[in-house]
Amino acid sequence: MQSPNPISDYKYGFHKPENYAFKSKKGLSKSVVEEISYHKNEPEWMKNFRLEALDIYYSKKIPQWGGDLNHIPFDDITYYMSPTDRKVNSWKDLPKDIKDTYDRIGIPEAEKKFLGGVSAQYESEVVYKSIQKTLSAKGVIFLDMDSGLRQYPDLVKEYFGTIIPPVDNKFSALNSAVWSGGSFIYVPKGIRVELPLQAYFRINAANMGQFERTLIIADEGSFVHYVEGCTAPIYTTDSLHAAVVEIIVKKGARVRYTTIQNWSTNVYNLVTKRMRVEEEAVGEWIDGNLGSKLTMKYPSVYLVGKGAKGEILSVAVAGKGQHQDAGGKAIHVAPYTTSKITSKSVSSAGGRTSYRGLIQMLHSAKKAKTKVVCDALLVDDFSRSDTYPTMDIRHNDIQVEHEATVSKIGNDQLFYLQSRGLKKADAEAMIVNGFIEPIVKEIPLEYAVELNRLIQMEMEGSVG
């Protein structure tokens, strides 16, 4: 007998009564998009950007590769809502309703520890924000995307949609049409932001799509680490999360973007993430996918400047009824560029993981180097793992390495750990946590702790 899967009924699975100032009617139409733009009081160019994106969205078919996207109830989704008209600046002014929700996922502790600033998104709108003085003194901009557009329209206009244009894919077009929230970050030349910037995202209404949009610009020689973590309550019907993250890493700069995605298991999580990495700059994605019904996400680095470096660390855990189709892409445009993709996936209780990756080396990518390592771990005999690596190499003077392994938790490993007093579930969790450890050690401690705890819960649920 299977006990209930903890990923589908874990402790964050609660939701608060809805309390919204504005909510668009269900389904998507030109008037819904116009309404969103009007409600946000946006400049004309953004309204037009949205409307053009909507046309592109309509013109594109639903992708038939990767996971099964044919059952997303597009007409049943509310594309925009704002929880309150009022903005708050400190924790104590936050509405009790929302504060309760955050208290349960431990945001105050996180804030105390090492926040450079908090931008938490409740539904589609950022309602809570505090930016430490140090950030603004350094000239660092850290806003929600809507405020970013209002306060820095020229800067936003210059970069918005340049890394991931609406035509890129159907879901980037959808996001471009209805986006709301997300973060806008600008780090000036030579500035290092030592503490990670964090944002928390939640969705809390049945059939509520969440379409946040993030834009990060790291000017020459700067450094920033952005951390995004998601926990979401459970709904009864399917839900959609289609985000777009665009990052520009200028000459000599370094950006690290860490995500731990933990949507409830009815969410379709379809995210387009891309970095443009310029000369001698470094772009890093750390991407953890635990929750959702289906995730399709392939963080990309476009290495456009000489000597640019890109690194992608991807960890995916699929439990019962879940499909994690994750991986990464590295496009080598310039010479002497290097990339590394490390993927670790765990399938248990019949879950499915896929590694899907692309390495492209153009004619201009002389002396480029890449290394791809993808390891899959199967916890039992009825879970599944696939690898779909693609390499498109157009230069002779390059170096490519690819390693892939699939392993299954062995009885002898379990016996060894059990002989030291660990229950089978604890032994499995220890093996799984050990397997993903090379990636987990790269993420901030509290996320690592939560990740380990979730894996522990997952294994307890999968042992009969």
């Binding site: 062995g410 009885n411 002898d412 490993q413 016996f415 060894y416 750990l417 059990q418 002989s419 030291r420 007093g421 660990l422 229950k423 089978k424 604890d426 032994a427 220890m430 093996i431 946590n433 050990g434 397997f435 993903i436 450890e437 090379p438």
Partner: protein, 225 residues
């Protein structure tokens, strides 16, 4: 002691509750002191104070020895007094680290080893020392050492034997599975048992081991050795 394939490791695995082996027959019982553990799971046997040092300890990538030991010791934290292994009290983090440091020094285990993955890319002798480290840290009621002396140089052998003697001094009952007399030189056995073709065929003292060294197992088995 016993010839290859006589069932020594099978016995060790059965005692520890390895599910690969089925213990058949009403009369067959495994007991720790007076407690019948025949139907207990491996981890429950461990918590009753049984310990097995493996002949070929399996690698577990990403898991360190301190990580495993801390988990194992925490698990034995809360059971009622009767269920506790000998001298196996809960340790605070700093107490644990202190004890781990002293114990690893005692067995000439470099600190760096404790940061590495369990049994991964260690030499045979290093793995055996790490098994002994775990035994001494966990202080079991009974410990089975399955060929702990195989592949050890003479210095390592002395260190391992010292570990056995220390455990014994502190009240742990010891079973050593071995092919060689040399470990018995350092760790004085009370009994030597001979296992052949799956049966216990003879029990004696240290002199029995010397006899085997001289004449082999011909006397106890029909198998072609």
């Amino acid at each position: 002691m016993g010839p290859n394939g006589s069932g020594k490791s099978t016995l060790a695995g059965s005692l520890m509750g390895n599910e690969t082996y089925k213990v058949k027959g009403e009369r067959l019982k495994v007991k720790v002191d007076d407690k019948d553990i025949t139907n207990l799971k491996t981890e429950e046997r461990a918590r009753e104070g049984l310990f097995l040092a493996f002949q070929n300890p399996i690698a577990v990538p990403g898991v360190t020895v301190p990580n495993l030991l801390r988990t194992a010791l925490n698990l034995s934290k809360n059971p009622p007094e009767s269920k506790r292994a000998v001298n196996n009290p809960a340790l605070s983090f700093s107490e644990f680290n202190k004890r781990l440091l002293t114990t690893s020094k005692q067995f000439n285990i470099p600190q760096e080893f404790l940061k590495r993955s369990l049994n991964e890319e260690f030499s045979g002798g290093e793995k055996k020392k790490l098994e002994m480290l775990q035994a001494v840290m966990l202080k079991p009621k009974f410990a089975i050492f399955d060929e702990i002396d195989t592949g050890l140089d003479v210095d390592a052998l002395k260190i391992i034997a010292r570990g056995i003697l220390e455990l014994k001094k502190n009240g742990t009952g010891i079973i050593v599975i071995t092919h060689y007399n040399r470990i018995l030189k350092y760790a004085q056995p009370d009994y030597v048992h001979i296992l052949a073709d799956g049966s216990l065929v003879e029990t004696g003292n240290k002199s029995l081991a010397l006899e085997i060294e001289k004449n082999g197992y011909k006397k106890w088995t029909n198998k072609i050795l």
